[in-house]
């Protein structure tokens, strides 16, 4: 990072060291993206194994115990370790560019957040090789998981504790970045929608992750250190876990879906070639969804027996969320309406997203009706609903945005034909898998079962569902092939690849230099780059300062070492209930490493380094040839 000669080829060791120590938001974005993709593939593979098992009745492809482990790890990995980091990858990449910042507010913490997330995820996955994965579902309700034998649940608790800390750090970082680091002229009401949703998601993470931390910590001390929070024989109360989990769990759903909303709000105006319809109502709806998301968690617990008053309150609050969500859907439709539409790959994802997500939302409102929920609870109808929301919303959003932002992220473009093929395979597979599960649910098939008897009328539907899952897998393989092919393709070295970019990130020429904008841009309105283009500005942007020295943060290896310290401490804690003598020393060692790194960090002044004007001009010339970024 400290070297300016980024045009030169570097050896493998140097590149690796660069990535291990980097605090650059773009590189961390890449790391989030590829780590997320890795875990997405793992969790997707687990899903395929489950669907193969359920393809025919009385199947014995996997055992009941392994099936429980697969379904737990599929849910946990997809939500915490695949969807979240993939979205964080886009946030890291795009948000600083969209607000015209050089980096995030706390580059060091950004790196720490990534490494905590990654090592927590690795820790969780080690469970497969060390005596069995967690098997109590992704919710891991205390009444079940307290009595799960082996170390599976301990891996779940510790792994999520570490990666959750990383997510919380990153969330706070995004909030501060968006509050303090906007370019001059970028008021809150001129921020692009993706930045807005990132801000709200950051706020949701800030408020929602602490209850998860607390719930997991209670579980940790209950299982490993003899506490009694959830043990009713000792006066504990297992409902506390459910409440804490869902106080976190429901906002988590919005943590995932809001960035996808933001991504689509970026994609649709570009390809409809029209200003986003109802920008202020979009912002308002985002805030409202974020706030209401905190007031509805008990709708996951209707069947717990909270009583009619509580159920009624939470039912009404849940239905209320449909209103701002509906506002968003109508705004997207009205943006497309009357636009001069270009159906590119990102746009086809957006067009596929709207009806799919609406279907998921409508079944959600059905479940908000508490009496009906008693019927639907724990059936495949629920499985169909949340996959419609998560796959139809979040995953389509991520795939669409991958195609959309690939030119900025890699300076390459994904093949369009292969992109359409990916979309249609995945989209058809998705509907084939999950649409039919609504009916399986209504016919009474319970979720989380490892097999079923034949001749209940479920055979054909399950078979169709499994075929759809295989198609989805094929779609993902097409996408990965597309990515690999694109690496071989010619670099673009262009700005505004799609030709109709509106927000600030499209004003940058790719590859994006490590300091982003050579001069901080001046924001003259909503869709600043479109305004400049409209007024015939050849420079790309109007700038708020002359070319001058740029101050950048130093890279550091400490975040990785700190995360490794937590990783070591987690092992000590894991084996504590076995009564081994080394458990407490290992915990102390691990936490000691982390604390020592923190002390080193605060005792060594980190003043960053300065890139001089001459170095900037040289960098620009090495990247784009004579004349630099014009």
């Amino acid at each position: 990072m400290s070297s300016v000669a980024i045009g030169n080829k570097k050896g493998f060791g140097a590149t690796l060291w660069d990535y291990l120590t980097t605090v650059d938001h773009k590189k961390l974005g890449n790391m989030y993206f590829f780590a997320g993709l890795l875990f997405f593939a793992i969790a997707g593979f687990e899903a395929l194994l489950m669907r193969i098992q359920l393809m025919v009745p009385n199947n014995d492809f996997v055992s009941a115990g392994l099936f429980n482990e697969l379904l737990t790890m599929h849910g946990t990995t997809m939500l915490f370790l695949a969807a979240t980091p993939l979205l964080f990858g886009f946030m890291n990449w795009i948000v600083p560019l969209q607000i015209g910042a050089r980096d995030v507010a706390f580059p060091f913490l950004n790196s720490l957040g990534f490494w905590l997330f990654f090592l927590g995820a690795v820790f969780l996955h080690l469970s497969f090789f060390m005596g069995g994965a967690p098997d109590a579902g992704w919710t891991s309700y205390a009444s079940l998981s307290l009595y799960s034998p082996g170390h599976g649940i301990d891996f779940y608790v510790l792994g999520l504790q570490i990666s959750g800390a990383g997510t919380l750090i990153s969330g706070i970082n995004f909030v501060v970045t968006i509050i303090t680091m906007r370019a001059p002229g970028m008021t809150f009401m001129r921020m692009p929608l993706f930045t807005w949703t990132t801000l709200i998601v950051g706020a949701l993470i800030t408020f929602a992750f602490p209850p998860l931390t607390v719930a997991l910590f209670f579980m940790l001390v209950d299982r490993m250190f003899g506490a009694n929070f959830f043990d009713h024989t000792m006066g504990g109360n297992t409902i506390i876990y459910e409440h804490l989990f869902w106080i976190f769990g429901h906002p988590e759903v919005y943590i995932l879906i809001l960035p996808a909303f933001g991504l689509f709000s970026e994609i649709i105006p570009v390809f409809a070639r029209k200003r986003l319809f109802g920008y202020s109502s979009m912002v308002f709806a985002t805030i409202l969804i974020g706030f209401l998301g905190f007031m509805v968690w008990a709708h996951h617990m209707f069947a717990t027996g909270l009583g009619p008053t509580a159920n009624a309150i939470f039912a009404v609050a849940t239905m209320a969320i449909a209103v701002p969500t509906g506002m968003k859907v109508f705004n997207w439709i009205l943006t497309i309406w009357g636009g001069s539409i270009k159906v590119t790959v990102p746009m086809i994802y957006a067009l596929g997203f709207i009806p799919s997500f609406v279907a998921g939302g409508v079944t959600g409102v059905m479940q908000a009706v508490a009496p009906l929920d008693y019927q639907l609870h724990d059936s495949y109808f629920i499985v169909a609903h949340f996959h419609y929301v998560i796959v139809g919303g979040v995953v389509l959003g991520i795939f669409g945005a991958t195609h959309f932002y690939w030119p900025i992220m890699t300076n390459r473009v994904l093949n369009e034909k292969l992109g359409f093929l990916t979309f249609w395979t995945f989209f058809i597979g998705f509907h084939l898998t999950f649409f039919i599960q609504h009916f399986l649910g209504l016919m009474g098939m319970p979720r989380r079962v490892f097999t079923y008897q034949g001749d209940q009328g479920w055979d054909l539907f399950n078979f169709i569902s499994s075929i759809g899952a295989l198609l989805m897998g094929l779609g993902v393989i097409f996408l990965v092939v597309n990515m690999l092919l694109s690496i071989k393709s010619k670099p673009l070295n262009t700005s505004d690849y799609w030709g109709d970019g509106r927000s600030l990130e499209w004003a940058l020429k790719t590859p994006v230099p490590f300091y982003n904008f050579k001069q901080t841009p001046l924001i003259r309105g909503y869709d600043p780059y479109w305004i400049e283009k409209h007024e015939g500005n050849k420079e790309g942007m109007t700038y708020a300062e002359p070319v001058g020295d740029i101050h950048m943060p130093n890279g550091s290896i400490l975040p990785l070492i700190m995360s490794i310290g937590m990783f070591i401490a987690a092992f000590g804690s894991l084996y504590h209930p076995d009564g081994v003598s080394w458990s407490v020393p290992v915990i102390i060692l691990g936490i000691g490493i982390t604390v020592a790194c923190m002390i080193i960090r605060s005792f060594k002044d980190d003043l960053g380094f300065t890139v001089t004007k001459e170095e900037i001009i040289a960098t620009e010339e090495s990247l784009y040839g004579k004349g630099g970024n014009k």
């Binding site: 501060v176 303090t180 992750f209 250190f225 003899g226 929070f229 006066g235 804490l244 605060s602």
Partner: protein, 209 residues
């Protein structure tokens, strides 16, 4: 950068902790962190209230019998006073008096240590003499975890402030360390805010039964 710029009381800017972008980031950052801590403490607190006095059937220890007010009162006074002393430190920072900052921050640390000592003594008394250990009941787990989480925050604050004092003992104030002192003082006040609720809800209302 700013660290090499020497200031005098006359050139020291108003609100020195927020003139640099790093300072602003630290100020906003510590606040957003506190917001998330609010919800963290709310969760632990609510659990304590839910599990208060509940244990295995036949448990004879209740909050009413267990808690005494004398110790809680002294601890409250120590922590409240430490809040004031850190305000004094910030007052001296405004006047560019680095010695004043260090001395008052040092007093804050001493008061915090006193608080921590009393808390450890209290835990020791309950565990050893009352037989009210961490694994005794749901009530004991919730109590130790709530007060212990606060204690952990105190420990982190003490390490933080001590580190700041040692690191900046010789080099005076500048725009690089002023935001650090300021963030630490805000964090310290937040610890006091939490304690206000703990002494009211756990101790005072515990004694009422």
């Amino acid at each position: 950068m700013d660290i090499n710029t020497k200031y005098t009381p006359k050139t020291w800017p108003d609100h020195a902790e927020q003139v640099t972008l790093e300072g602003k980031n630290k100020f906003v950052g510590i606040w957003i962190f506190i917001c998330s801590d609010i919800v963290l403490f709310a969760s632990v607190f609510a659990t304590y209230l839910a599990l208060k006095d509940s244990g295995p059937s036949g448990m004879d220890i209740t909050a009413k019998e267990l808690f005494g007010l004398e110790l809680a009162f002294v601890m409250t006074m120590l922590l409240l006073t430490s809040s004031l002393t850190s305000v004094y430190a910030m007052y001296h920072m405004k006047n560019f008096n680095s010695k004043g900052v260090l001395i008052w921050m040092g007093i804050t640390v001493l008061l915090g240590l006193g608080f921590l000592g009393l808390e450890i003594y209290e835990f020791y008394e309950y565990t050893v003499h009352e037989g009210f250990g961490f694994t005794h009941s749901a009530f004991s787990s919730a109590f130790y975890l709530l007060v212990g989480t606060h204690g952990l925050h105190v420990i982190i604050g003490l390490i933080w402030i001590t580190g700041l004092i040692i690191r900046n003992a010789k080099r005076g104030l500048n725009l690089y360390n002023a935001p650090k002192f300021f963030a630490a003082s805000i964090y310290w006040h937040f610890i006091d805010v939490v304690w206000v609720f703990i002494f009211t809800v756990v101790y005072l209302m515990g004694v009422l039964g």
